[in-house]
Subunit: 200 residues, 2 copies
DNA sequence: TGTACATCAGTGAACGCGCGTTCACTGATGTAC
DNA sequence: TGTACATCAGTGAACGCGCGTTCACTGATGTAC
C-alpha cells in the first residue's frame, strides 16, 4: 500500500483533487492546469481529463467537495439556541481559511458546471444548514427582523473570509487571533446592548 | 474627432483600459487577453503590450484606476458626523457594482505588480479615506470599540459586494433594491437600540 | 484450478490553437535652424 | 515658410511555448465456464 507505482492508481480521483486544490491555493484558479495536476498526482498528463471528462469537470468535482465540506463545517459546534449563529460564522470563516481553493472555486460559478446534479445536491445541503442556523437566532434579539440579521451574519463572515484571503486583513488584525477578531465583530451584531459579555 | 482611424490613436491608453474592464466584467480576469483587448480597442494586437509593457502592467494600471475611483466613491456623500460610515459603505458597495472588473482585480494582487509606485499611491489614498471614515463614527455608539466597529462595517460592505457579484445574493434579495437591503444590515450594526428609525 | 474474454484504468504520442512577446518597420508629429 | 532630422506611436509578421484534448494502445483486473 506504501508504493503507488501500480498501473492502476487506485485512488486517482482523490489524488487529482488534492493536487488541484494545492495548485489553486498557491496561485488562484488561473494557475490550475491539468498537466501539472497530473505531474503532482504522479500520473500521465491525460489521466485527469480521463477521469473528470475535462477541466470544468474537475472544477465541478472540486466545488462539490467544497460544498460538502462547508456543510460539515457549519454543523460543527452547532447546538440549539444561544450563539449558534455566531458559531456557524466561525465555522464558515474557518472553512474558508482551511480550504481556500475550494472556497474560491465555489464562488466562481463561471469556472464549473453549476447545474451538475451532484453539485446542486451538495450546494443545497450547505444552504439548508445556513438557513437553519439563521432561523435559530433569538427572534427578539434584534428588532425581530430575522432574515436581515441572518444576511448580516453571512455578509460579515463572507467579508472576513474573502478579505483575509486577499491579504487585506493583515494590517488590521495584526498579531491577534483572527477568530477572536471575527468574534468581536459578530458580537457587535448580536450581543446584548449592555456591558460586553465577551471580553476576555 | 468622430473618426478614430488615424495612425496615432490619441487615447489608446484609455481605450485599452475600457476594453480590458469590459472583458473582465464579462468573464473574469482569466478571460482577459491582450489580443482581444486590442481588437476591441481597434488597434493592432501588439499595441497594448507596447503601451503597458506587458499583461501585468495593464492589470496594474487597471487596479490603480480602480483605487482612484474607489477613493472618489468613498468621498461621495461624505458629510461630517452622523451616518457617514454608512454612506461610505453604500459608496463601497456601489463602486463594486458599477465597476466589478476593477473591484475584482484590486483584490487579486497576484495578478498585478502590487509594489508599483502609482498603484501604492492610489491604494494609500483609498485606505486613508476608509480610515478617516471609520474615525468619525460616534465613539459612544457601539461599546466605544471604534476599530472593531470600523472593521465590521468593512466586512459587511465587502461581503455584500462580493456575494452580489457571484450571484449568491439574488435569491435572498429578491426584487428589493439592493441598496436598501444593504442599508438594513448596516442599520443593524449602527442604529440606536430603540425602535428602528429607518423603516419606510 | 485453469483458460478465454470482456472491461476498465491509465498511457504516451500527436494535434492544433491561442496566447504573450519580439522586432524590424513605418507613418505621423514635433523641433531646430 | 520651408527643409531636415529626431522622436514617438503603433504595425504586422513571426516565434515559440504551454495548454486542453484526441486517440489508438496497453497493462491489470474481473467474470464466465
Amino acid at each position: 500500500m506504501t508504493d503507488k507505482r501500480t498501473y492502476h492508481h487506485g485512488d486517482l480521483r482523490r489524488a487529482v483533487l488534492v493536487a488541484a486544490a494545492q495548485m489553486i491555493d498557491e496561485g488562484g484558479p488561473s494557475q490550475l492546469n491539468l498537466r501539472e495536476v497530473a505531474r503532482r498526482a504522479g500520473v500521465s498528463h491525460a489521466a485527469p481529463a480521463y477521469h473528470f471528462g475535462d477541466k470544468p469537470g474537475l472544477l465541478t468535482a472540486l466545488a462539490t467537495q467544497g460544498y460538502e465540506m462547508l456543510a460539515d463545517a457549519l454543523a460543527t459546534g452547532t447546538r440549539s439556541g444561544e450563539g449558534e449563529l455566531e458559531e456557524m460564522g466561525v465555522g464558515y470563516v474557518g472553512f474558508a481559511a482551511e480550504h481556500p481553493a475550494h472556497f474560491e472555486v465555489m464562488f466562481r460559478p463561471d469556472l464549473y458546471r453549476a447545474d451538475d446534479p451532484d453539485l446542486v445536491a451538495a450546494r443545497t445541503r450547505a444552504r439548508e444548514r445556513l438557513h437553519a442556523g439563521v432561523g435559530t437566532v433569538p427572534a427578539r434579539r434584534r428588532g425581530d427582523d430575522t432574515p436581515t440579521a441572518g444576511l448580516a451574519a453571512w455578509l460579515l463572515a463572507h467579508g472576513f473570509a474573502t478579505l483575509r484571503r486577499s491579504g487585506s486583513l493583515a494590517p488590521v488584525v495584526g498579531d491577534q487571533d483572527p477568530e477572536d477578531v471575527f468574534r468581536a465583530t459578530a458580537a457587535l451584531l448580536f450581543a446584548e446592548p449592555g456591558p460586553s459579555r465577551r471580553h476576555r
